[in-house]
């Protein structure tokens, strides 16, 4: 019997206007952690969707354990021993862990037996989880464990993990890696999708690198350097953002004892948040998703109002000002959710430029919209920030995530902000675009703008921030200078150990 588990030969899948996968071939051995590397849009998702039976290939063949494998639906893939943990969880917050797991099973056993099996599996793999807890009360890391255990209960021979560490603290990543190594040692193969190179070097035995739908290289991540991998992935030399060290100016944004109540039962309320940002400073705010990031952005952008003195800009109380009043004094923001929050999906880029630009760019006259000027503003964003689109009359949802993000960030930067608040500036953005965005933020800081960057990507925060703080359960830790901050210290801050 050969040691090949999955053999993929010549898979091709085309969508209208784009070939997502072009003649992709690679193999996964038994008991191997195999990395699938590539930028956003390189075709990783399409490829794993074909393996998991969500999408059918136009051409090509797959063999699992030497037999032809052509799953017509996820159920068939699961029956053949393929399991998948998605990047976005599909869990019901109002149900408990065992109920959620039962919902995904073909023939769920009785709750009590299932709870026992969940406990057994979670102990065996070092993933502590209480089957009776409500999912709504769990952290992102714990929710991921629910998804992993759901997969492990099927005894899979191949486990697909899509960007599993994006929601974890460094400590949680370590726990996950221990589990994955244990699974590998027991003979389970893992297909690990990521664009975080250090992680891949830490855990993977082999790597297949995709670029624009094609396999460009297969390499051993243990011997290749992160830089070599990155260049294979991007196809060119990466530009490292440059930082200019400078004296910080006066305090521009100050938040004092800011508390807001949560609007939903499973949302997070901000509890007495304090922070100050000086002119030219980049305050990086880390933390696992769902610990109050959205709420903090809403309180700073003006979507959630507070007492006037809780938020001051240049000494002026602004806590009770609505978003447009704050824009007038130079407080701009870019929320995490691009489609549906920062931009309206079915509206054109011109209309989306008007969305936040109306005040500062003076795009209206007595309430009447100057479409010519608005279109010019949209075109300026598109040229200055290299947004790839045929033109400003196209709707926002037709753009790729990275291009739309460049548009959203560019829209705010071009309005010359005094204070800029950004949540997840490079989430789902390819490496080249992410480098451009970070450079633009650093340039803005160099010009004297006070920046608050909320992100779950710690490497990014370390790269661009002057100071660092972390959100945990709606509380913000004390601010620390980024210089000399260790990963362990960051992990503790994110876990709430020194929360003020």
């Amino acid at each position: 019997m050969s040691d090949l588990l999955l053999d993929i030969q010549g898979l091709t899948k085309a969508y209208p206007g784009v070939v997502a996968n072009d003649d992709v071939s690679f193999t996964i051995k038994k008991g191997e952690v195999h990395a699938l590397l590539g930028e956003n849009g390189a075709g990783k998702s399409t490829l794993v969707k074909m393996i998991y039976g969500l999408v059918r290939p136009d051409k090509g063949q797959m063999h699992l354990n030497g037999e032809v494998f052509a799953p017509s639906e996820p159920r068939a893939a699961r029956a053949a021993g393929v399991a998948m943990v998605f990047q976005h969880f599909s869990l019901f917050e109002a149900l408990n862990v065992a109920e959620n797991i039962a919902l995904g099973m073909e023939n769920p056993p009785k709750q009590r037996q299932l709870a026992k099996r969940i406990t057994d599996v979670s102990q065996a793999y070092g993933l502590p989880l209480d089957p009776a807890r409500l999912v709504g009360d769990l952290s992102a890391g714990e929710r991921q464990r629910v998804e992993i255990i759901r997969c492990l209960l099927q005894d899979p021979s191949l486990l697909i993990m899509d960007e599993p560490t994006s929601v974890l603290t460094p400590q949680e990543v370590e726990i996950l890696f221990k589990t994955l190594r244990k699974l590998r040692d027991e003979g389970t193969s893992i297909l690990y999708i990521s664009h975080k190179l250090e992680e891949i070097r830490a855990i993977c035995d082999a790597a297949t690198i995709l670029r624009r739908g094609k396999v460009v290289a297969t390499s051993d991540p243990k011997t290749a350097s992160a830089r070599e991998l990155a260049e294979l992935m991007v196809g060119s030399t990466l530009h490292q953002p440059e930082r200019v060290e400078q004296e910080l100016g006066d305090v521009m944004l100050a938040v004092r004892r800011l508390s807001t109540a949560s609007t939903t039962p499973f949302g997070t309320s901000l509890k007495s948040v304090n922070l100050t940002v000086r002119k030219g400073e980049v305050l990086g705010i880390g933390g696992v998703a769902g610990n109050g990031q959205d709420e903090l952005l809403a309180a700073l952008s003006g979507e959630r109002l507070s007492t006037p003195d809780a938020v001051t800009v240049d000494g002026q109380p602004v806590g009770d000002l609505a978003p447009n009043a704050r824009r007038c004094i130079g407080v701009l923001s870019a929320p995490e959710e691009r489609l549906g929050h920062a931009a309206a999906p079915d509206m054109s880029l011109t209309e989306n430029a008007l969305l936040t630009g109306a005040q500062r760019e003076e795009l209206t006259d007595n309430g009447f919209i100057n479409w010519g000027k608005t279109r010019e503003f949209a075109e300026k964003i598109i040229t200055d920030f290299d947004v790839r689109t045929p033109g400003p009359s196209h709707v926002a949802r037709s753009l790729s995530g990275g291009n739309l993000q460049k548009f959203v960030i560019g829209r705010e930067i071009l309005q010359r902000p005094e204070v800029l608040v950004i949540n997840q500036p490079t989430w789902g953005v390819d490496a080249a675009a992410a480098a451009d965005i970070r450079q633009a933020l650093l340039d803005l800081a160099a010009a004297g703008t006070a920046l608050v960057v909320i992100s779950q990507d710690l490497d990014e925060l370390m790269e661009i921030s002057t100071n660092f703080a972390a959100l945990h359960h709606g509380r913000l830790s004390a601010t620390r200078s980024c210089q000399g901050l260790t990963v362990d210290e960051i992990g503790l801050m994110m876990g709430g150990a020194d929360a003020a």
Partner: protein, 361 residues
Amino acid sequence: MIHLEKRAEPSQLWAAFTPVLAVILTMIAGGLMFAALGKDPFEVLRTIFWDPLFSEQFSAYSRPQLLVKAGPLILIAIGLALGFRAGIWNIGAEGQYIIGAISGAAVGLAFYPTESWLIYPLMVIAGATGGWAWAMIPAILKTRFNTNEILVSLLLVYVAEQLLASMALSTLRNPEGNGFPGSRNLSQYWSTSNPELITGTGMHLGVLFAFITVIMAYILLHKHMLGFHIRLTGESPRAARFAGVNPTRLILICLGTSGALAGLAGLFEVTGPAGQISIDFNVGYGFTAIIVAFLGRLHPVGILLAGLLMALTYIGGELAQFMLGLPGASIQAFQGMLLFFLLGVDVLTNFRIRIGHGGAK
């Protein structure tokens, strides 16, 4: 196997073509239904769509009726569309229409028998205010207590109908009417009447006002920030809030405007074609306007065309009933088919149909 594939962008071509396709499909399905009822489908369709406008026998009566019926439909539908665009669902235009008519008529009757050119403008203001106030009830309940505006506005229609009956029977009853229910005939007094502007066309002040509203609504939606905010709120409420839209204010504006326009439609009707407040004054314009708004794709120009088409099916439908002996229900079913096909083929704007295997399931 047929499956649907989402388009990267909505198709402009299909957005314009789907109403036409829907009308064609309605004629085919309707024709089959009429054939099943034992009538010649071509004759029925000709009676509905052609005879009211061009037959020598009927057009003298029915051609002016086209504008008389389309006017209030368009006026109400424009107001409703503003709210529908923003995701605010006023289903109670019928009630606002009734209250507008009662308020306007009450002002006119209060001045009777004085003659002055000032009276009619006052009645117009009263009609708009009446409709606006009736729509403010669901608006304020929604913004204060988060009630559902669909239910509240709909139920208020039945309250308004009771009020109408009470007015026709007591407060506004014609004292010289020998005890018959119904008010004085407003269209018979110069100061309170809304006559045809051009004889034989059916064109009265309300129709003129409806056309002006179409233009105003077009400008509002496409050239003004308020219209942008209305569209943005409907597309994505979170983005709207991020753009600084105050949802409470928008609810009050949209419900208030649609109420005022429905009230105006009622006022023009009671002073013109209907002439008086009577128990059976309302004939369902407020509900039909909902269909007109969707048939017109919530676009002002679309609503103008849809209002005319809907009016035609009403007039032609009545003609078919007494000329060919078709049951009234079959005409309603025919109008229902129109909405059904319209909503059904709408999917082609955002999706394309693929035939064959492969692709996502």
